[in-house]
C-alpha cells in the first residue's frame, strides 16, 4: 500500500508545474539569506554573494543538482528526447518511411505468427480456473497399438507411445462413480460433421456436441438466458433438450429473448432449447466453435444408424466418448492419474480382446492439460508454427540489420550535431541515451504499422490453414500476451539496431567533427566496417531463409509429382450420406447402386464409381488379415481395406494386372470377393499365385472367406507420403458399416461443369439426400497438401522479403562508400583511370561482400537445418537432410 501511495505521490509530483518555479524561489531565498548574514558582518553585497557561492554553491549549478536528483528528471529528459527524436524523424520522411516499413514487416510477421501460436497453444478456455481441468487420455506402447475396439475419436503417436482420447461409456460411468480425486467429470462426443437444425421450419447447419449432464457445472459456465443442463436432463427418460452458444443464439435467432422452451428439430429429432451459454464460451475444441449441445443420452435418437450391433452405452469395447474432469484442490495431476488408472485398468483389460500367443495390451490412463481446450489443431500445427516463428524471427533480424545500416549512414550526416553537443558538455552516455530513444520511437512506429500488417496476416494465415474440409474459427483477439510480445519485440529490436550506431556516433572525435566535412570523420572507417559486417550478415540470413524456402518448395514439388497410381485429372468427387434420410441395410445399398448407374448414364461422364474413403485423405480403413497356412508376427497382419463401388479400377484408371474389376453383381448376397494390390502380393504371396486364394478378416464374421479375383497396380491410399500399404479392395455392399460413400466421376472435360447434372441425377432418386464435399480429385490432393503449400508459400514470401531487405541494405552501404570516395575516384579519373576500371573497383567490393555473405550463409543453412531437423523432417518429403 505504501508503495502504491509513494508512486502516486511521485506521479503527482511529476505533473506539478509550479514545482520548478517554487524551487527557484526557495533556492534564491536561501542564498539571499546567507548573503544577508555575511553583509551583517560587514561585507559588501558583491563580496557576500561571492562568498556564499563558494561556501554553498552557485544558484545555477545547485538548481541542476537538485532537479536531476530524482527519477522525475529522468522521465523529463526522456520526454524531451522523445520530442526531439520525433522532430528529427519528421525532418527526414524518406529515411523514416523505409525504416518503419522494414521494421513493420519484421514485427508484423512476428506478431501475426505469435498471435496464432497464442490462440492455438496458449489461450485458456474462458471457464472457471481452467488450469484445474484435465483431459483423460490412454496410452499404449507405439508398436503394439490398440486393436479390436470399435473406436471413434482421435489418437496419435507421441514419442514412443500411441495416445488416444476416447473411452467407453461404461468406463466413464465407473470413473464417475468411484473416483475420489476429481471434483467433477463429464463425457462428451462430437456429433459427426454439421447437423441439420430446423427452427421455425427453416433448415440450417450447426456444429453440435453431445455432453453428459454435468458439463456446464464442472466447467463453471453460466447461462446468459434460460438454464443449462443438469444431470436430470441427461437421461433416456427425460424430454430431449439442448443448450445453444451465445454466438449461435445471435446468428440464428437474432438474440431473441423468448429463446427458452423454443422447439427445434436437430437431426430429425424434436428438441427444446433450454438456455444459452455465456458469450465468451466457444466450446472445448480449439479452432472449432460448438453451436449446440445435446445430452449424451440422446445419442440413440440423433445417431440412429451409428452402430446397429449393440448399445453405445453398455458395450465395453465401444470407445467413443472423451472425458474431462476438474481436479480437486490439493490433488496433483500425477496422484489423480494414478488413482484413476486403478479404476480404468480392469475396465480396459476386459474390453480389449486378447490374441492368442500374445501378452494383453493394457493401456494406462494419463491426465492431459485441458485448460487450453482440446483439439487436432494444437497437435497438427504446433511444430509448424514454431518453425514459422523461427523463419519470421530471421526476417526481423534482417530488418534490424537493415535499419542499423541506415542509421549508420545517417549518423554520418549528423556528425556535426553530435560534435556540437559533445563540445557543449553532453556526456557520451547521455548522447547514447538520446539516440536510443530515437531508435525506440522508430521501433514503436514500426510496431504500430506492424500491428496493422499482423491483423491482415493473421486472417490470411487462418484462411490458408482452413481447407475446404472445415473452416477454422479462432479467436485471435490480441490479449496481454500478444501485446506484451509485440512491445517486447519493439524494444528488443530498438536496442538491437540502435545500440551499435549510437555507440559509434557517440565516439565521434570532437575537433574534426566541427572543423571538417562529415565525410572525413575519423570514425567513418569504423562505421563502414560495421556496415559491411551488417550487409554480410544480411546476405547470410537471407540465404538461410531462401534455403529453407527451397526445402519446402522442393517438398511440395516432389509430393505433387508422386505417382499416385491412378489418374488424378478430370475426376469429380462428392459424398452422399443417405442414412441421414432414413436409409438402412438393403435399401441403403440399393440406393448406392442406383446412384452409380444413374451417374454413369450422364452425358459427359466416361465412367462412375464410389469408395468409402476419398482416395487421398487422412482416412484409411484397417483390418487384421487371416490367411490360412501363413503365420506372420501379428503386427504384420494389418492391411488397409478400401470398400469400393462397381468399375472402381476402370474409373480411377488403376491398372489391373490380372483378374477382373468389381461390378453390379458383387452384392451382399453374391460370393465374397476381393482385389489386392502389388504390395499385398509382395508381402503375403511372394511364393505362390494369389489368384483364386481365399482370405478372411479377424473379428468380422461376415467376411471370413473371400476369394481374390484380381491384382491391381499399387495406388496411394490415405496419404501421399506413405508407402502404398498392402491393400484389399472390396465391393462396398459386402463390407459392414458403410453409412456413406464418396462417388468418383471420370469426366471428358472440366469435372466441375458436371455438378448441376449430378445434383439433378441424385435428386431424381431422392431429393432429401444432399451432396457434400464436392471437389475435384486435384483439389482434394491440394487439400491434402495444405500444410506443405502453406509452408512453401510463406517461406518463399519471407525469403523474398529478406532478399529485398538485404538488397536495400547493400545499396545503402555501397552508395555511402562510393559517396565517401568521390574525391578519390575523381583523382583516379583525372589521372587517367577508365570508367570501366572504376566500375570494376566498386563492383569488386560489392561482390566481395555478397560472396562473404554466401560463404557464411551456406554452412549456416546446413547448420540450421541440422539443428531443426527433428522438427522439420516431418514436414519434408523426398529430401535427405544429411
Amino acid at each position: 500500500m505504501s508503495l502504491l501511495r509513494s508512486i502516486a505521490s511521485r506521479v503527482r509530483w511529476l505533473f506539478r508545474k509550479e514545482r520548478v518555479e517554487e524551487l527557484d524561489e526557495e533556492l534564491r531565498g536561501f542564498l539571499d539569506m546567507a548573503a544577508e548574514e555575511k553583509m551583517k558582518e560587514g561585507m559588501s553585497r558583491k563580496d557576500a554573494l561571492r562568498a556564499v557561492r563558494l561556501e554553498r554553491g552557485s544558484f545555477e549549478i545547485t538548481k541542476e543538482v537538485v532537479r536531476s536528483a530524482g527519477w522525475e528528471s529522468f522521465v523529463e529528459t526522456c520526454w524531451q528526447d522523445l520530442r526531439f527524436g520525433w522532430r528529427m524523424l519528421r525532418k527526414s520522411p524518406g529515411f523514416t518511411t523505409v525504416v518503419v516499413l522494414s521494421l513493420a514487416l519484421g514485427i508484423g510477421a512476428n506478431t501475426a505468427i505469435f498471435a496464432l501460436i497464442d490462440a492455438i497453444l496458449f489461450k485458456m478456455l474462458p471457464v472457471k480456473n481452467p488450469q484445474e481441468l484435465a483431459l483423460l487420455q490412454w496410452s499404449v506402447p507405439r508398436e503394439r497399438g490398440l486393436h479390436g475396439l470399435w473406436y471413434d475419436g482421435s489418437s496419435w503417436p507421441e514419442n514412443s507411445k500411441e495416445v488416444g482420447f476416447s473411452f467407453s461409456y461404461s468406463a466413464f460411468q465407473q470413473l464417475r462413480a468411484r473416483n475420489e480425486v476429481l471434483s467433477g467429470l463429464f463425457a462428451f462426443a462430437d456429433l459427426g460433421g454439421d447437423v441439420n437444425v430446423v427452427a421455425d421450419g427453416e433448415p440450417g447447419l450447426a456444429r453440435a456436441q453431445m455432453a453428459s449432464g454435468s458439463i456446464f457445472t464442472t466447467l463453471g459456465v453460466r447461462p446468459v438466458a434460460g438454464r443449462l443442463f443438469s444431470e436430470a436432463d441427461d437421461s433416456p427418460a427425460a424430454q430431449p433438450v439442448c443448450v445453444i452458444s451465445d454466438g449461435y443464439w445471435k446468428r440464428r435467432f437474432g438474440a431473441r429473448t423468448d429463446i427458452a422452451d423454443k422447439a427445434v428439430v436437430i437431426a430429425r429429432v424434436p428438441f427444446n432449447i433450454i438456455g444459452v451459454t455465456e458469450p465468451n464460451f466457444f466450446g472445448l475444441t480449439t479452432g472449432s466453435n460448438t453451436d449446440v449441445w445435446v445430452p449424451l443420452s440422446t445419442q440413440p435418437l440423433v445417431e440412429p444408424n451409428l452402430d446397429p450391433k449393440a448399445s453405445m452405452f453398455t458395450a465395453a469395447d465401444h470407445w467413443w466418448v472423451e472425458i474431462m474432469g476438474r481436479l480437486k484442490p490439493a490433488v496433483s495431476r500425477a496422484q489423480a492419474a494414478a488413482a484413476l488408472d486403478v479404476i480404468f485398468k480392469p475396465a480396459a483389460t476386459e474390453a480389449i480382446p486378447s490374441r492368442p500367443g500374445e501378452p494383453a495390451v493394457v493401456p494406462s490412463l494419463e491426465l492431459g492439460r485441458a485448460g487450453q481446450g482440446f483439439g487436432r489443431l494444437r497437435h497438427q500445427f504446433s511444430a509448424p508454427l514454431f518453425i514459422l516463428m523461427g523463419l519470421v524471427s530471421l526476417v526481423l533480424l534482417i530488418a534490424c540489420a537493415n535499419v542499423a545500416n541506415l542509421l549508420l549512414a545517417r549518423a554520418t550526416s549528423r556528425g556535426r550535431e553530435v560534435g556540437l553537443r559533445l563540445s557543449l558538455g553532453a556526456s557520451r552516455g547521455r548522447l547514447i541515451r538520446q539516440l536510443l530513444t530515437e531508435s525506440i520511437v522508430l521501433a514503436l512506429l514500426g510496431g504500430a504499422v506492424g500491428c496493422v500488417f499482423a491483423y491482415w496476416g493473421t486472417s490470411l494465415l487462418i484462411s490458408l490453414i482452413s481447407s475446404t474440409g472445415g473452416t477454422i474459427s479462432l479467436s485471435v483477439s490480441p490479449d496481454l500476451r500478444v501485446v506484451g510480445f509485440t512491445t517486447g519485440a519493439c524494444l528488443f529490436t530498438a536496442i538491437l539496431f540502435g545500440l551499435a550506431p549510437a555507440w559509434c556516433t557517440a565516439r565521434t572525435d570532437l575537433a574534426p567533427g566541427l572543423k571538417q566535412s562529415p565525410r572525413t570523420l575519423s570514425t567513418a572507417g569504423l562505421r563502414l566496417g560495421l556496415g559491411k559486417a551488417l550487409v554480410v550478415s544480411q546476405v547470410a540470413f537471407s540465404l538461410v531463409l531462401l534455403f529453407g524456402a527451397g526445402l519446402f518448395v522442393r517438398t511440395l514439388v516432389k509430393l505433387k509429382n508422386v505417382d499416385t497410381g491412378f489418374d488424378t485429372r478430370n475426376v469429380l468427387l462428392f459424398g452422399l450420406n443417405p442414412t441421414k434420410s432414413g436409409y438402412k441395410e438393403a435399401a441403403l445399398n440399393d440406393f448406392f447402386f442406383r446412384v452409380c448407374q444413374r451417374l454413369t448414364a450422364l452425358p459427359g461422364v466416361e465412367s462412375a464409381t464410389a469408395s468409402f474413403h476419398e482416395p487421398i485423405n487422412d482416412g484409411r480403413r484397417g483390418r487384421t488379415l487371416r490367411l490360412p497356412g501363413l503365420t506372420l508376427p501379428p503386427d504384420q497382419m494389418g492391411v488397409a481395406v478400401m470398400p469400393t463401388g462397381p468399375r472402381f479400377f476402370a474409373t480411377m484408371k488403376i491398372a489391373l494386372l490380372r483378374g477382373r474389376d468389381f461390378n453390379e453383381h458383387d452384392t451382399e448376397r453374391a460370393p465374397k470377393v476381393a482385389v489386392v494390390n502389388q504390395a499385398f502380393v509382395k508381402r503375403y504371396f511372394s511364393d505362390r499365385d494369389p489368384m483364386g486364394q481365399h482370405i478372411g478378416f479377424d473379428s468380422d464374421p461376415a467376411n471370413q472367406d473371400m476369394e481374390i479375383v484380381g491384382i491391381a497396380r499399387d495406388a496411394k491410399y490415405g496419404s501421399l507420403r506413405d508407402e502404398t500399404p498392402a491393400t484389399v479392395y472390396r465391393p462396398f455392399a459386402q463390407e459392414s458399416e458403410i453409412p456413406y460413400l464418396f462417388f468418383e466421376l471420370r469426366s471428358a472435360g472440366d469435372p466441375l461443369s458436371l455438378v448441376p447434372a449430378v445434383r439433378a441425377a441424385v435428386a431424381s432418386i431422392d431429393r432429401s439426400v444432399p451432396l457434400f464435399a464436392i471437389e475435384t480429385e486435384t483439389q482434394e490432393i491440394d487439400d491434402a497438401l495444405l500444410q506443405e503449400r502453406l509452408f512453401a508459400k510463406l517461406a518463399g514470401f519471407f525469403g523474398l522479403a529478406a532478399l529485398l531487405l538485404a538488397s536495400v541494405g547493400l545499396y545503402g552501404i555501397l552508395s555511402y562508400a562510393v559517396a565517401r570516395r568521390t574525391s578519390e575516384i575523381a583523382i583516379r579519373m583525372a589521372l587517367g583511370a577508365q570508367r570501366a576500371n572504376v566500375l570494376r573497383m566498386v563492383l569488386r567490393e560489392t561482390l566481395l561482400l555478397v560472396l562473404a555473405g554466401v560463404a557464411i550463409g551456406i554452412p549456416a543453412s546446413f547448420a540450421a537445418t541440422r539443428f531443426a531437423s527433428s522438427v522439420i523432417s516431418d514436414l519434408l518429403f523426398g529430401i535427405n537432410l544429411n
Binding site: 501511495r5 509513494s6 526557495e26 531565498g29 536561501f30 539569506m33 554553498r56 554553491g57 545547485t62 530524482g70
Partner: protein
C-alpha cells in the same frame, strides 16, 4: 570538516534534518544554520545537498512545506514534520543508537 553528504554516514543527513524540524518548523536556510550551530561547525551544508534531501523527504511524505513570511518579512518555505516523519525519526534514532553502541563496543574491545 564534512560539508558533503557523502562524507556523512549514509542516510544520516535525512535523520539530522528530521531532528532539526522536530524542534520547530523552519525554512531551508534555517535548517542549514541550526545544523551548523548545533554541530559546532562540523556539518556545513551546501544548498545542493540540503535541497536534494529536503525534496526527497517531502516526496516521501515525511515533511510538509508551507510558504510563510520570515521575521525579515521575506517569503520562505517553512518545513514541518508530519506524523509519519516523527515516526521515522524515532525509529532511526533508535537504530542509530543501537549501531553507535555496537560500533563503540567493537572499537573498545581491543
Amino acid at each position: 570538516m564534512a560539508d558533503k553528504p557523502s562524507d556523512l554516514v549514509q542516510g544520516t543527513l535525512d535523520m539530522l534534518i528530521l531532528k532539526m524540524l522536530a524542534l520547530e518548523p523552519m525554512h531551508g536556510y534555517g535548517i542549514a544554520v541550526r545544523l551548523e550551530q548545533m554541530s559546532q561547525g562540523v556539518f556545513r551544508l551546501n544548498a545542493g545537498s540540503l535541497f536534494v534531501a529536503v525534496q526527497r523527504l517531502q516526496r516521501d511524505g515525511l515533511i510538509r512545506g508551507e510558504w510563510k513570511a520570515t521575521e525579515n518579512s521575506r517569503r520562505a518555505k517553512y518545513y514541518a514534520l508530519t506524523a509519519q516523519g516523527q515516526k521515522r525519526l524515532n525509529s532511526e534514532t533508535r537504530e542509530w543508537g543501537r549501531q553507535v553502541a555496537a560500533i563503540a563496543r567493537i572499537l573498545e574491545a581491543s
